[in-house]
Structures are given as structure tokens and as C-alpha cells.
Symmetry: C4
Subunit: 248 residues, 4 copies
């Protein structure tokens, strides 16, 4: 281990990268955005949300976007594989042999409308099955405690467990960019929900920080999983509970 030689001058870019750090409430060890994306890719792959080379994640810091690469094994994405882009999508840096995720136009749209810090695009089977078993414009859930894990987008405030959470569902298109129109409609139809499902495809879920995006995404995934299991058991999450009578 060599000492840093005295008089070393860090470049402006290096200093900016050092300052450009994510904040998590409970973690003094801080990661840069590319490091967070690498960590999340591996974590979400292990949750089953990024099989094949599917799924993508993006973070925004000021006018700079970070996006995972397209077409690669997500559990092996390193910080140096992450693209750094201007808000308009032009590439500042990234591996020369790869391209940024094709989700980029949808990430940009969600940033434009809602301005989150981190957006997760999941291919989870629980989400896909929920969009197949609940075929309408909304997945309507209520009376599940985990609803409290999905913040109100307008205020960041908490929901009641027994209120109706309406998650918009858009139909899939040939290319991700072709969904920009329907995504914009869905975002404005339900401005308080930090998630949109894509039928037979997956979900976009976001939050102000990477840890909020991740915990919100885990909550949505859990709710979809319960919705699917209820349908498979002859029940329907969209109907109010009946006949449940425990201690109260």
C-alpha cells in the first residue's frame, strides 16, 4: 500500500466524482452512483427481477444521468460499465463496446414528469403475472399492510393500509420508446403513484433516493405477488375483504 505522494493534484473531474455521492439514511460508507447501480443490479438480479439481460436502472444527479448498459448479464455490471449522460441523452462516458439501456427515453420521461433520483425497471415474474391476471387499466389493491410501503408521490407522505392503491398498467409495445405516449398518459392519470406496470413485460418504479426506490419497488413487487396468489386461490385483491373476523 503506497502513500499518496504529497502534492498530488486531483483533477476537477475526480473531485466532482468524489463529491457526487448518494446519501442513504443509515450508511456512513458511501457509494458513487455507478457503484450504487452495480450494487443494485446484483441485488435485483438475485431477487429475480433481471433475468437474461433484462431490466435496467437509472439515477439522476442534477443534470447528469447514469444508466445501466443494454444486453449484458446484470449481476455482473461493474461501476465502470455504467453510462454517464447529459439530460438530453448524449453520452459523457461509458464503455465503448456497449450501449445505454433502451429504456433511456422512458427514464427521461419519468425524470421530466416526476423528477425522481432513481428509477428501477424490473422484469419480475410476480409483476408480469399480476398484469396477466388483472387485465384492466389499473391494478387496484387495498387492505394490505404493505401498501404503506408505497409513498404518495406528491408529498412523500404515507398511505393508509386500507386505502385503494391504483397502479396504472400500460400495454406493451414493440420498442420501449414506443411506450412514451401511453406512459405519459398513465403518469398524469395517476400522479400520486410512483410506479407503472407494463403488461406482459415488467414495471417502472422510482423514488427520490436509491434506497427509497428500492424499498418502494420491493413493496410493489410484494403486493403484485399477493395479488397473484389470491387470484390463484380463487380470491380477488380488487374486492373488499369479507368474512374475515379475528381479534379486534
Amino acid at each position: 500500500m503506497e502513500e499518496d505522494p504529497a502534492g498530488t493534484v486531483k483533477t476537477k473531474a475526480e473531485n466532482e466524482r468524489n463529491e457526487r455521492r448518494t446519501s442513504t439514511n443509515h450508511d456512513e460508507e458511501q457509494m458513487t452512483s455507478p457503484q450504487v447501480l452495480s450494487y443494485l443490479c446484483r441485488h435485483l438480479y438475485n431477487l429475480g427481477w433481471m433475468p437474461g439481460s433484462g431490466g435496467a436502472i437509472s439515477m439522476r444527479e442534477g443534470d447528469t444521468l447514469y444508466v445501466t448498459p443494454s444486453g449484458v448479464q446484470k449481476e455482473r455490471v461493474k461501476a465502470s460499465d455504467v453510462f454517464e449522460l447529459c439530460a438530453d441523452g448524449s453520452v459523457l462516458s461509458g464503455p465503448s463496446n456497449l450501449r445505454p439501456s433502451q429504456c433511456l427515453p422512458l427514464f427521461q420521461l419519468i425524470y421530466e414528469v416526476h423528477g425522481p433520483g432513481t428509477i428501477i425497471h424490473s422484469h419480475s415474474i410476480a409483476v408480469v403475472m399480476a398484469t396477466i391476471l388483472y387485465p384492466g387499466r389499473w391494478l387496484r389493491l387495498s387492505h394490505l399492510h404493505m401498501i404503506k410501503g408505497v409513498p404518495r408521490q406528491s408529498t412523500g407522505g404515507r398511505r393508509r393500509w386500507d386505502e385503494e392503491l391504483c397502479i396504472p398498467v400500460i400495454e406493451n409495445e414493440a420498442e420501449d420508446k414506443d411506450m412514451a405516449g401511453s406512459l405519459r398518459v398513465a403518469l398524469s392519470a395517476q400522479p400520486d403513484c410512483p410506479a407503472v406496470l407494463i403488461r406482459r413485460h415488467g414495471a417502472y418504479i422510482w423514488g427520490q433516493s436509491w434506497d427509497k426506490a428500492k424499498t418502494t419497488a420491493e413493496s410493489i413487487d410484494y403486493l403484485c405477488d399477493v395479488a397473484v396468489r389470491m387470484k390463484q386461490s380463487g380470491l380477488n385483491i380488487e374486492l373488499p375483504p369479507s368474512g374475515e373476523k379475528g381479534f379486534e
Copy 2:
């Protein structure tokens, strides 16, 4: 690695922390309570019991309570993130930017009534599905060997595999503290069961030591999982077996 300088005087607080250790039957390497809570958070997250920022764990040593923080990714809780509190809930130490779990009033109530050393609050999907598919005041299980993994609370003694284990189920409320009344009724209605389920929410499960709380919780979770799979297969765990005829 520096030698401890001769004459070093440990503070009273340091000595107490060193003495304040959990005992596990089979582990000479000992962890402090905050270390155990950090270990358990990561372990139970990996079992799927703490998705989003859900779930919580508490330990009690004498008059001191330890509680996990609210609203954070549970698999990343470090020992230094754990709150240390008086029995009345006033905070002795903990991270300044976080709050103790909102489960605290229910943890305190269970300590008051049953005095366990460790309490696990799980959001496991198996538990939630069991409360949805079995809608009454009790989940009644019998004729499953794993029932022997749920100790009798009064004596710590073992159950028979073919006796009926009645786990109380309380209805969910807007806030955890609002369930104090129904939880108290459920605890006194079934004083021998170290677990209470909360409909469409999760479970509280406890034991005298952290390893007993964990193995009891895994047994309850397993039993709920079997109960759900039986319902999904057209069977009902609450009915006695019929037509089973193996070697005997």
C-alpha cells in the same frame, strides 16, 4: 495490529457492553445484542420476511430494550443503527437521523405479558396468505411434525405433533400501536402460543433467546406455508387427515 497498552482502563459502559452478550447454546463466538439484530435482519431479509423496509426485531436484556430502526433497508442494518432504550421506551442511544420501529409499543406489550428475550416481526408472504385463506380468529393446525418446533410458552416444553396448535389472528389497524388492545386480548386468550398473526400484515413471534425466537419463527412460517399450499390444493389444514394410510 496494536497491543492493548498496559494500564488501559475500560469505561463502565464498555465493560457493560462486553458483559451484555447473548448466549447461544452452540456458539462460542458471541455477539452483542445489536450485532445479533444486525445479523438477524440480514438473515430474515434473505428469507423474504423483511421486504421493502418492513419488519422489525427487538431484544431485551434486563431493563434495556434494543429495537431496529424504522424505514430502512433491513438487510443493511448495522449494529450501530440499532436503538437502545429504557423499558419505558425512552431512547438511550441510536442514530440521530432515524427513529425506532413503530412496533415498539407492541414489543413492549409482549415483553410485559410474556417477558421473552427476542421478538421478531415478520412480513412473510406465507404468513399473510395464511391469514387471508383462513379468515377466522385462529389458525388451527394439527398433524404436522413441525408443530413440535413451537414451544409451549408457559413451560418451554414440547408439543405433540398431532395436537392442535391454535395461533391467534388479530385484525390489522391503521397504526401498529392501535393493535395494542386486540393484541392484549389475543395474548390472554392463548397464553401458551409464542406467536400472534396480523391479518394481511404479518406476525409477531418470540422466544427466550434469539436463537429460540428464530427457530420458532421459522417453524411458524413453515406451518403457514403448508397451510396455504393445502388450501391451494383443495385441502384444509384445520380438518383432520383422512384416508392417509402408509406403513405403520
Copy 3:
């Protein structure tokens, strides 16, 4: 790293322990039997076969038995937690605060009848559900490639994928030792099958070496899983395939 001082004399016991090693076909790094049991406990816990403190494993070398301890978290069993016993069950060494698994009498019986080197006692949910959904004296499987992974006990030879594998099922009893009689009958009724299922409880599965016991156990577990999924889909593994018509 200190050199071993010249002239050191190893005790007979140490030499025996060094020689007493398991052989695996494909692994030059060798483990002692207690190390294998520790490794397998952690591995099988992660497969979901040893939740709570359930399940047990035993190995035999000549007249010496090794057995995992009772009532502890199996994923944390260390080599030093493993009991060493005479063939008659008297303890040679082991942790003073623990007891050998209550499965010991059944392990001894299986050693007596079939003489395997390693026996796994699993609490897998797939196995338990198979015994609930197929209520008779046998689980009869055929036309599954994985049947080839279950050796013929008499010869060690391979089965055909389309022959019928009959796994005996015994009814559960209050204590493991109470099943000795029915286990003996089942073993003699089906001497060629290296596994017995226990209704609503789990399975005993064995092999000549620890790796054969483990791969056989994984094959049995997989077959039970397919049998359960077929029943849940309205099919029955005990009936021959009909209407299947692929390329041939």
C-alpha cells in the same frame, strides 16, 4: 505462521482423525466427517430442508457414527458441534451442553439394514406436501428423467427413466424412535429404494458416500416437487403420460 517444532509427536487420536477422511470423486481438498456435516447442514438449510432446528444428518465410518446435535440452528452447526458415537449410540465426544439428534435410533436402524455411509433427514416442504397429496403406502413415480438420479440400493446401478420408482411412506409417530417398527417394515418392503418418506414430517435419504447421499436426496426432493406441482395442476404422477406427442 510458525513451523511445526521438530520432534512433535502426534497422538494416535490425531493421526486417526487425519486418516478418517471422506472421499469425494471430484475434490482433492478433503474434509473430515464433522466438517462434511457442518458443510451439509449449511447447504441443506439454504435449500430449505432444515428450517427451525429441524432435520439431521449422520455419517458412519467403520464402527464410528457422527450425528448432528438436536435443537439448534442447523445453518450454524460447526464441526465441533458434531457428536461422535459408538455404533451402539454411546457418546465418544461432543459438546457437553447439547444432545445428539433424536433421529439416532432411526439412523442406527438404516445403517443396520442397508449400511450406507451418510443419511440425510430432511424436513423439505416439497416432501411433506407430496406425502399429503399422495396419501397411500407408496409414492409411485415414473416417466421422469430425474428417476435416473436415484440409484438402485442393491447394486448401486442406474434406473431407467420410465420405470416405476416406489418410495415407501410411513405414518408419523409421537417420537422418532416410535417409527423404528414401521421403518423396518418399509425398508424390507422396498429394499432397492434409498429413501423413506414420513407423512407430514419429512424424509430419510441415504447413500454410500456423502456426495451420493446428497445428490440422491436432491433427486428425491425434485421428484416430490414435480409430483406436487402435477397434482396442483390437475395431473397425477402415478398415472402414465397420455397425449404427449413431441418429436421422436
Copy 4:
């Protein structure tokens, strides 16, 4: 750590092994083919595709084949356990106490017809259940986004998400080599699909590089999983969607 003595001459074999490296798009740290097979075995075991000692993987570099050994725990296959063979199947090197996978003749056939770089033989339960629940000559899938993860074999180009992907299914036979005839027919019947399913057995899935083979295999596995869950929910992936009406 010793310095490499000056003047050391590497043998031709060592140089060739150093040059014989796989290329992955996004990974500067490079592995040799045997190292890749070891890595993949452990990874795919953890996905549940290689239980027991089932499954196999092969890579081809020029005229040299690499094949995993038969009958061993796949999660413990080391690079030195991998066989190196001539294209005709004669062994160049490999562990003396093991044999190459019995899949070798089918690997050779797929190399001959389609020339991929890596072939994965999976025993995944999702694949097996798909072949049981969809009993015909083809598993026909459409309207699932993950179809885009299965390249067109002829061109390497991408599929539309709403086109029909027809995966051939062959009937299982007593020995892998007995399926050579039906596999050849299936390969020519559907030359554009880089996968063949074997009823009640598993799948062969391939790609030009190991990462493409793996991501294609994960995509196929995911599609089979969705197909099975739909059947279990009373739906049929082979019928077009009806009544789905989200935002568009």
C-alpha cells in the same frame, strides 16, 4: 510470493491456454473456458437447474470441446474437473476418475448443426413442468416481452415481443445418445430457435458466447415459468391475449 525467475520459458501448451480465453462484452477480467464452466455450474446450480448431479455444460473453441464431468455435484465442479476433448470426442485431458457428461453426443450434434460456442443442458423444474402441461411438438409462446431475449439463430437478430416463438419439444429416451435422431429432426424443423426442450427431462439451450448462452437460457426458463403459471391459473400461453385493456 515469489517473483517469476527471469528467462522462464512458457511451454506452448501454457501459452495456448493463456490465449484460449472467452470474451464477454463487459468484463475485462477474463476466464479460461474451464473456469467459465466452473463458474456457470455453480451459478446454474444456484438457479435450481442442476440438482442432484444433473445437467451439463459444454464450450467449443475451434476444434477443441470442453465438457463438464458426469455424476458429480455441479456446484463443486472446479476448472480442473472439466474435460478437454477433440471434436470427435476423444479425451485430451481431464480427471482420471471421472467421465465426460453423457450429453456429449448431443452437444456434438448441436455444434455440428448450429456451431454455437456454449451449450447449456438444464434440468430446471420450470422447463420440465412446461413440457408436461403443454404436451405437443411445440411450446408456442407469444405476447411476452422476454421473447426478445431469445435471439434468432440464423442472424443473431432480435425477435418482436408479439411474434410466436416455437420451441421444439422432443420425447425423452433411455439414454441421451438415443435422442440424436429426434434432436436432429427438431433442429431442422425449427432452425431459428436456439433451444430444444426434452419432455419430462430438461432443455438444451445455446449461444455464440457463454454469456449469450446464459442470458438466452434464462430467458427461455422465464418463458417456461410464465407458461406454467398461466396454465395453473386457467390460462394458456398458446392462445392470444383477450380482454387486456390498459393505457395505450
